[in-house]
């Protein structure tokens, strides 16, 4: 007896079918649980445990190990500022402070209106374009403190349904690691990574 929507259940079945052992599907299913409820609840973990036939304690072990499984309500936009070494050397901390100051949300927390969550994160693989920021895991490189303030104001006023890396890069970014990279138009529609299989991409079918 699942509490999930029929569409989510169908996705869960498809994902589980990809693996020789059910339990291997625990990580994608945790994202499904997050997408279903906005964040990962205890009930969500119990549901995943039933789907992949392991105990809730075992699901919790995975869910608590990885920081991208959010076990508290997260804002509509999750702003992640990198403070690992390359970004730190190029002003990542200033970018973080600018985001905190402009939004009024200290890192690790969510604004009272539920719009924004701010966090500082370890390396997100964008050292060539440091300092880097992600909004709902969509990357923006070469961000300055001023651009970061613009980004926060834009999220507050424009409130896009889908955030997209290329769009935000043009508006708020600077130097990119790979300016020849293929553009992708899908974007993310919530504070969880956008994957086709999970049904979490913003505009399905677009590239």
């Amino acid at each position: 007896m699942s509490h999930w929507s029929e569409a989510t259940q169908e996705r869960a079945r498809e994902i589980i079918a990809r693996y020789p052992q059910k339990r291997s599907a625990v990580m994608p299913l945790l994202y499904l649980a997050m997408a279903e409820e906005g964040y990962l609840t205890n009930e969500g973990m119990e549901e995943v445990a039933r789907w992949v036939d392991i105990t809730p304690a075992q699901v919790q072990a995975v869910a608590t190990f990885y920081t991208m499984y959010k076990r508290r309500p997260t804002g509509r936009y999750l702003v992640s500022c990198c403070t690992s070494i390359s970004c730190m050397l190029l002003g990542g901390d200033d970018v973080l402070h600018a985001v905190e100051d402009e939004s009024g949300v200290p890192h690790g927390e969510t604004g009272a209106d539920g719009l924004l969550s701010v966090e500082h994160v370890e390396c997100i693989g964008a050292c060539g374009g440091a300092p880097a920021v992600q909004v709902n895991y969509e990357l923006i490189e070469g961000v300055t403190p001023d651009k970061a303030r613009d980004l926060v104001r834009w999220l507050d006023t424009a409130r896009p349904d889908v955030v997209n890396t290329d769009e935000m890069q043009e508006l708020f970014g600077g130097v990119r690691s790979f300016d020849w990279a293929i553009r992708e138009g899908e974007g993310a529609k919530g504070p969880y990574p956008a994957f086709q299989a999970l049904g979490t991409v913003g505009r399905e079918g677009e590239t």
């Binding site: 052992q21 119990e46 105990t55 809730p56 304690a57 075992q58 919790q60 072990a61 608590t64 190990f65």
Partner: protein, 837 residues
């Protein structure tokens, strides 16, 4: 409505075992050897062994926390670092994850290793609190010991240590102190690899990693106590033992657990004459060091305030305390009167399945010599035939399951009734890749490791067996036609007659290349009791009471009675009908323990004279004429015989409260007063008499068990067992066709006398519950957790409904003998209605 049986075939998970670790223990043919050098000394060691194990077996102890001989290695704690000469020069490797190779040069104590060990310990102690003086583990703590033997002596850490709330209960029995935890994963691996209920796991990561349960889902494992024992620090402690003693104040003696017919080996630990805890002892043959929580914590009844301490006799309708002389003279006089009037036929003896072999022998001799009767039975109307249990042809050993091609388990849920055997079967299926077939009316604790699982409707076992024989289940037939098949058979449900298990055994013996049979029965020393002749159709040493059997005993006992004896059911019916005038109960509570208690209640109400030897007043002896206080576990020494016929020594370490005496001493005294002395001087001399009188026990003396057979001796030692019972295939009744059928099964924790008086375990009994398939619940209008009325032709009562997918449609599962639960008898047809509120 479902058909007579549903077949479900699931794929088996075969966890890969790291080479070495568990594999070496299997060692069938002599393993190949390689030569390695440990600290400059050359050794021959088994090829493929882990370095840590090879070194240990050659006398070099490498310190460790996470590695445990009975679990797969993980290399988490890094304490076992040793230096190995490699192709690129010397390097530090973990001895618990590396296998020996020919020519390997290992250094376990040079300066590099010493520095590594000191560093590891310094890091482990960076967060570990130094609260050893108030820690239960202090004095027997591997971390404490190894910090002394291998540590740097000083720490450079001045930072504040981790803080957690402590201790937190993770179950009713286990407390967790996360500050002390060194994250070795012994407990989590045990619950995953060994007991199969991974309800504790690591949580979070890095510096804040902790072991914990899921919120509101406690570590309610039947084996949770093992994690306390294997925790190498004081992170997991026992709620029951907490702050009760320091290890150096404990006296201890080795013995066997008596809640479980496998007889797991354990250490009884006592302070100030009180048993304070039981700790598992590693025994290759039985328990591998593990204990179920019932065996570990189910001893508190020994020190209960309710223990009987004085002989009681009925006077003016009340049981009053008296002297042994007065009580025994009364009984002796009554025995003489009745025997003179009616002879031995009117006596009945029920019980003896909980004591030692010496006690059982005394009961057997007392019944035959003093009471002149064969009306004696240690089974309580819930067991297979005595000849099949005690002397089946091709009887197997527990260890046989490790090398089997197929294990057939057609009987009770081992997790509930035979926890030691459950762990062995789980290991065989999970770690050794043995094919496991489980046949049971509902879900069992081993289903997740079964390569094949069949369910059948209660009472429909014979129909299923016929189907198998007719070739309707080809896959199962094929599995049973394998070369080495071990059939573990017992009564899965009260609705199945006792003949089913024997018929299954007969089928497997015909089918398999070579079959080994392990028949199951309940009550701690039931197999010892049967071997001592506590059944109407057995004499000591697995001898049938035929002419030859009686003649052989005549020299030492005088000719035993020839009349055919009654089993427990016939005795209870005989009491009700007046055929039986005198009932002796020895550690037996038929009202609570027979499947259909109406029969026992009627018998107890109409009995002319009842004498009970027991630890407590119970529902059966409350109205007795004389109640005599007995000695309990750890209060007497002797031998016991487990389900494979293995005889082990149990030992005394605690005094008997009040004036209690061992069963054999009571009966010897009584026999003397009744004018028919049976000549039993002490337990050891009884053991000697058994080894002379009981053919299967020839040569099994206490000396033999204490000095030569440390893991116990399997009887018979030679081919001296006179009785070899060939299992017979029988035809059973047709399965009842009612839409709902009752399945009554035992659970580990129930309302038995010993658990009722053990405060730690009493609250864990299931209570009055009934398991319903959600579809059946819907039809009956029953909701989860709400009361329903369950009615059979034998009884009725109100139970709390549990909606359970593991119980097939058409089956109503009620755990037996639960606090507050009404007895429902053995009738399979049942009605369930929701109780309106």
């Amino acid at each position: 409505m479902p058909g007579p049986c549903q077949i479900a075939v699931s794929c088996r998970h075969v966890a890969c075992t790291a080479s070495g670790g568990l594999g070496v223990a299997m060692g069938e043919a002599g393993p190949e050897h390689v030569t390695i050098t440990i600290d400059g000394v050359s050794h021959e060691v088994p090829a493929g062994a882990l370095v840590i194990k090879a070194a240990q077996d050659r006398g070099t102890y490498i310190p460790r926390f996470c590695w445990h001989e009975r679990m797969n290695p993980v290399g988490m704690c890094r304490m076992c670092l040793v230096e190995v000469q490699g192709p690129r020069g010397p390097m530090l490797v973990t001895a618990c994850t590396n296998n020996v190779a020919d020519g390997m040069v290992v250094d376990t104590r040079g300066p590099t290793v010493k520095k590594a060990q000191e560093a590891v310990l310094e890091f482990l102690l960076a967060n570990h609190p130094l609260d050893c003086p108030v820690c239960d583990k202090g004095g027997e703590c591997p971390l404490q010991d190894q910090a002394f033997s291998h540590g740097p002596g000083e720490s450079r850490f001045v930072e504040i240590k981790r803080n957690f709330a402590k201790p937190i209960p993770i179950s009713d029995l286990v407390l967790l102190d996360r500050e002390r935890c060194i994250l070795c994963a012994r407990c989590t691996r045990f619950s995953d690899e060994i007991s199969g209920d991974p309800l504790i796991e690591f949580k979070s990561r890095a510096n804040v990693t902790e072991v914990n349960t899921f919120p509101d889902l406690p570590f309610s494992s039947y084996f949770s106590g093992n994690t306390i024992q294997i925790c190498p620090v004081g992170a997991l402690t026992s709620a029951q033992y907490r702050f009760r003693a320091r290890p150096w104040d404990l006296q201890m003696v080795e013995s066997s657990g008596m809640h479980d017919t496998a007889h797991p080996r354990l250490s009884v630990q006592v302070s100030q004459n009180e048993v304070l805890r039981l700790v598992g002892v590693d025994n290759d043959a039985t328990n591998h060091g593990w204990l179920s929580d019932k065996d570990r914590f189910g001893f508190q009844y020994l020190t209960s305030e309710e223990r009987l301490t004085m002989p009681l006799v009925r006077q003016d309708g009340q049981l009053v305390e008296t002297t042994w002389a007065e009580a025994l003279d009364r009984v002796a006089e009554r025995i003489g009167l009745i025997r003179d009037e009616d002879g031995g036929e009117v006596f009945a003896v029920i019980g003896g399945g909980h004591g030692t072999n010496e006690d059982a022998y005394a009961i057997s001799k007392f019944a035959r010599v003093v009471l002149e009767t064969n009306n004696v039975d240690a089974r309580l109307d819930d067991a297979l035939s005595s000849h099949f249990l005690a002397a089946t042809a091709d009887r197997g050993l527990i260890a046989d399951i490790d090398g089997a091609d197929t294990i057939l388990l057609w009987g009770p849920d081992l997790k509930e009734e035979h926890p030691t055997l459950y762990l062995r079967v789980r290991r065989a299926a999970q770690e050794l890749g043995v094919r496991l077939v489980v046949i049971h009316p509902r879900a069992t604790g081993l289903d997740d490791r079964a390569s094949m699982k069949l369910t059948y409707r209660p009472g429909g076992g014979f129909a299923l067996l016929d189907e198998v024989a007719d070739g309707k289940h080809p896959e199962l037939r094929q599995a049973l036609s394998a070369d080495r098949v071990v059939a573990i058979v017992g009564q899965a449900s009260f609705a199945d007659g006792p003949q089913l298990a024997e018929s299954v055994a007969a089928y497997v013996r015909n089918k398999a290349g070579s079959a080994r049979i392990l028949p199951l029965a309940r009550r701690g020393n039931i197999f010892g009791a049967l071997d001592m002749g506590l059944a109407p159709d057995l004499l000591p040493g697995r001898v049938a009471p035929d002419h030859a059997g009686r003649a052989a005993l005549a020299e030492s006992w005088g000719e035993p009675p020839a009349a055919r004896g009654k089993d427990t059911r016939a005795m209870l019916e005989g009491i009700d009908s007046g055929e039986i005038r005198f009932l002796l109960l020895v550690g037996a509570d038929p009202v609570r323990d027979v499947p259909d208690p109406r029969r026992a209640l009627l018998a107890m109400d109409s009995a002319e004279y009842v004498v009970s030897i027991d630890l407590f007043l119970n529902d059966s002896n409350r109205e007795a004429d004389v109640v005599l206080p007995a000695a309990g576990f750890a209060e007497k020494d002797g031998t016991v015989t487990n389900l494979e016929g293995r005889v082990q020594k149990v030992n005394v370490i605690a005094p008997i409260p009040g004036q209690g005496r061992p069963d054999w001493a009571i009966l010897d005294d009584l026999a003397e007063r009744a004018g028919r002395p049976i000549g039993l001087a002490n337990a050891e001399s009884i053991a000697k008499e058994i080894s002379e009188v009981a053919p299967a026990y020839t040569g099994i003396t206490w000396d033999h068990l204490e000095w030569e057979a440390r893991d116990g001796a399997v009887v018979p030692l030679s081919g001296s067992q006179p009785l070899s019972h060939i299992p017979v295939a029988l035809k059973g009744d047709n399965a009842p066709t009612a839409p709902l059928l009752l399945h009554v099964g035992r659970t580990l924790y129930d309302d038995g006398v010993m658990l009722r008086h053990s405060p730690s375990l009493r609250p864990l009994a299931r209570g009055a519950v009934v398991h319903l398939n959600p579809e059946d619940a819907k039809k009956a209008g029953a909701q989860d957790g709400h009361p329903v009325r369950v009615v059979t032709s034998h009884g009725e009562g109100e139970f709390s409904a549990i909606l359970d997918e593991g119980t097939p449609e058409g089956v109503v599962y009620v755990p037996f003998n639960q606090p507050g639960g009404a007895p429902l008898g053995t009738d399979a047809v049942v009605r369930v209605t929701a109780v309106g509120r």
